[in-house]
Amino acid sequence: MVAENIAFGLIAAAMVGAGFRLVTTTNVVRAALFLAIVLGGVAAIFILLGAEFVAWVQVLVYIGAIVVLLLFGVMLTRAPIGKEGDLDNDQRWTAALVALFVLGALASVLADAWGTQEIKFQGVQRTAAVSDSIFGTYVVPFEVASVLLLAALVGAVALARRD
């Protein structure tokens, strides 16, 4: 258990650090890389929680697809690769205030609700269980999600293509 806690501490520290840099850096490309670190951290957390399948999906979809997609976006919109002076708008302080307020509200409620309850680790949940769940209870959303992805695909193409 100690090892897990140490791992969590490291991962969490990396994630928070990367996350903070993500929202403060003045370099767009670097921001994408910080995002990759956070997403990787999330995958690691999933593994800690015994959700292997989700963790790998996270790596594949997020790091493999989404981050790449975002990088493409950065390049297509000709954002400077290097440092850029002003990436923030003029409501930075408001934003910080709101964010801190949100954090405070969430943290206090969470602390109140679950205090020091522990996760009783039940072992790794196999992919099969997940798939049973998807194709059992959640079969309708699953099918609909496929239509959704199709729609997003077609729509994104229709919007983004030059004509």
Binding site: V28, L39, A129, A160
Partner: protein, 99 residues
């Protein structure tokens, strides 16, 4: 492991995401911040799944991941569209309609 250590991590990520979407003016950075928030949710879902010993949390997280991907795709398309028309992705300049 405490449940709350995951939840608190998620909360911090969520708050950073909130800051990011509010303070960043580059459209792509805003999208990244949104991802931060969605990942916070995913941590929550998986942690709760483990806590409650149900697979539904993971399933939920999978749906979120899939749909987040679709959202990012659409979002980028919109940002590209705007970039093509205005040669800028600064979203705080987009205020033609107001009042």
């Amino acid at each position: 492991m405490y449940l709350n250590q995951f939840l608190m991590l998620a909360a911090v990520l969520f708050a950073m995401g909130v800051y990011g979407v509010l303070a960043r003016k580059n459209g792509v950075l805003v999208l990244m911040s949104v991802e931060l928030m969605l990942n916070a949710v995913n941590i929550n879902l998986v942690a709760f799944g483990a806590f409650n010993n149900t697979v539904a949390g993971q399933t939920f997280a999978l749906f979120v991941i899939a749909i987040a991907a679709a959202e990012v795709g659409v979002g980028l398309a919109i940002i590209l569209l705007i970039f093509r028309n205005r040669a800028s992705v600064d979203i705080d300049e987009i205020d033609a309609m107001r009042g």
